[in-house]
């Protein structure tokens, strides 16, 4: 095995890690604020990706406004989902599985709508720094991938500040940890939950505009991303944004190394087995501060 190959696989692993992490980030944000495991996080990104494509490739807008449009679209979808899907479910006393399935239904819907209205092609999008490659020794990485990594770190930091500093951030936490108490001290709990979904949607949107130039936009990308993001988020302990990215990185790198050192056919077998072993070894979650198994 050449050094180039090793570096290349590492670069790929890290890039994918951040991709998974970005999706996991959104799942964590939403779980943290509403205790809902959102199965359509990847589809927030799908929508954002489509909007980005329409703006930058189809209408030929410059990259930055297109990005913002995509993020906005994500936030809007998040808002819609909370208002029309999640809130009614909660009102009618849905349990954890209900939320999972409602959002899963949303995911199916998004993907089906994409196929119907956006078509079956997978559309390439010029990313930040176009399609240019950056050479690392003899290996390569997309310039856009570097941007993706940098920006996702920025997002994590921003979220951390948001939850620790911003009043709304604290209010959201209060609302999710102890709704009744929060209501008593005058926090509008339903609104906080909606805000959480808007935030989660925005994070999904950011993920979408960052990821789709890397992997092209395709009506099937949503659930695939969600599965990986879900894995990342849970490994990193649901509700812990930092953990989600760390979990994603772990998954991405394990996958890459599995391909290099064992066999690409068994990549998933190896990474998933590793996953199970980790969970059994550290039943409280790798980044849990004590607390129940599964965070």
């Amino acid at each position: 095995m050449t050094a180039t190959l090793f570096i290349q696989s590492l670069l790929a692993g890290i890039t994918n890690g951040f991709v998974y992490g970005l999706i996991g980030l959104g799942i964590s944000v939403i779980y943290r604020g509403t205790r809902v495991v959102n199965a359509m996080q990847g589809d927030f990104s799908l929508v954002a990706g489509i909007v980005l494509y329409l703006c930058s490739e189809h209408l030929g807008y410059p990259i930055l406004p297109s990005f913002l449009a995509g993020v906005l679209a994500g936030a809007v979808v998040g808002w819609t989902v909370e208002i029309f899907f999640v809130r009614p479910t909660r009102r009618r006393g849905g349990n954890e599985e209900s939320f999972l399935l409602v959002t899963l239904g949303g995911a199916f819907a998004a993907s089906a709508a994409a196929l119907l209205f956006f078509g079956r092609d997978s559309r390439p999008i010029r990313g930040l720094g176009g399609d240019n490659l950056l050479d690392v020794f003899d290996a390569t990485i997309r310039v856009h991938a570097v941007w993706l990594i940098a920006l996702s770190i920025a997002v994590v930091v921003a979220l951390r500040l948001f939850y620790t500093r911003a009043t709304i951030g604290k209010a959201i936490m209060a609302a999710s940890i102890d709704p009744d108490g929060a209501t008593i001290i005058g926090i509008n709990v339903p609104m906080m939950r909606t805000l959480t979904f808007v935030l989660g949607g925005a994070v999904g949107g950011i993920a979408g505009v960052l990821i789709s130039p890397l992997i092209t936009v395709n009506y099937e990308m949503g659930l695939l991303l969600t599965l990986k993001g879900f894995t990342a988020a849970i490994i990193g302990t649901l509700g812990n944004p930092f953990g989600a990215v760390a979990g994603g990185l772990m998954l991405g790198i394990v996958e890459a190394l599995a391909i290099v050192f064992v066999s690409s056919g068994y990549k998933d077998v190896i990474s998933m087995t590793f996953l199970i072993l980790i969970m059994i070894a550290v039943p409280n979650g790798i980044f849990a501060r004590r607390g129940r198994a599964g965070g």
Binding site: G265, P283, R292
Partner: protein, 312 residues
């Protein structure tokens, strides 16, 4: 009530078109596989996304044993259930020590692993090509080669499996299970070996799942890896939740939903996956206890009304 349902089931194939009977056969098959997931979720609070693995094991066992080895379908079916049970035991012992989202993720991981292995071990499974010409089930020379014929077998098996599960539900183990779901700590203190109990229920659901898989293989007479992917596991979970995890009988309605809804909707053109998704969302929103739970409430209400009527 129940009698009426049974009677209806009994006469449908005499009147309904072959297509409908075919769909009802699939409803039966999915009910059998779904009941395992439903019971795990509703009675033990375990979200299992790995049922596709056992469904696949059953199907491939039947396919391989009847085609490659040319053995009798019944032998194949038993072998399938045995393998399914064994694999489930080995997997469940470590994995069921997990709980909450970890457990859900672990079962999802198992589902992925299973699917990949079904693809990789194409010397058994035929990989993407699949295996054709699986032996059909026959009783004393009567080959179950039409939906009408297979229909009765399938639903009798549903009856048996549901009977077994309802036995389990109101038994010592059943009580222990519900106790475990409510308060694991207290259950342990009362001498219930939680982990062992979970493993047993999981293994049972695995064997039932592979039973369904075997029946599926000998009904369609063709198996391919496409039938045992993640989305199959998801659809089983869907059956459990839509049907109502708390009730056993609800599973049938859940199964009916996932088989009939897409088929009826697909008459409306390319928009049908979208409509199905929305149907799913609406069902979950408006029937949070699932179809089964909803019916149970209605029936209870009816009884109360009638009792009041009696008192008056």
């Amino acid at each position: 009530m129940a009698a009426a349902g049974v009677l209806a089931l009994a006469v449908i194939p005499l009147l309904a078109s072959r297509e409908v009977v075919d769909l009802l056969v699939f409803t039966a098959l999915y009910s059998i596989a779904g009941i395992g997931v439903t019971f795990l979720l509703g009675q033990c609070g375990i979200i299992s996304l790995a049922e596709n693995v056992f469904y696949g094991i059953g199907a491939y066992a039947t396919a391989y044993v009847t085609t490659a080895l040319g053995w009798h379908w019944l032998v194949a079916l038993v072998i399938g259930m045995a393998i399914g049970g064994a694999v489930a035991t080995i997997l469940a012992w470590p994995v069921l020590r997990l709980s909450g989202h970890f457990l859900a993720l672990a079962t999802l991981a198992l589902a992925t692993i299973g699917h990949v292995l079904f693809l990789e071990w194409d010397w058994i499974t035929g990989g993407t090509l699949g295996i054709g010409g699986v032996a059909q089930i026959s009783f004393f020379g009567c080959v179950l080669n039409t939906p009408q014929r297979f229909y009765y077998l399938a639903w009798i098996v549903v009856g048996i499996v549901f009977w077994l599960y309802s036995n389990l539900l109101d038994s010592r183990a059943g009580c222990a299970m519900r106790a475990m779901r409510d308060r694991p700590d207290a259950a342990m203190v009362l001498g219930i070996d939680i982990h062992q109990l979970k493993v047993k229920v999981f293994v049972l659901s695995a064997m039932v799942g592979s039973l369904a898989g075997s029946l599926f293989a000998s009904y369609v007479t063709f198996v391919s890896v496409d039938s045992f992917g993640i989305e199959r596991a998801v659809s089983f979970l869907l059956i459990a939740v839509v049907g109502g995890a708390q009730t056993i009988i609800g599973t049938i309605f859940g199964a009916a939903f996932v088989t009939l809804a897409p088929n009826l909707l697909s008459r409306l053109g390319d928009v049908h996956p979208l409509l199905f998704a929305l149907a799913l969302v609406l069902t979950v929103i408006f029937l949070p206890q699932g179809i089964g739970g909803f019916l149970q409430q209605q029936i209870r209400r009816l009884f109360e009304l009638s009792r009041l009527g009696g008192d008056a």
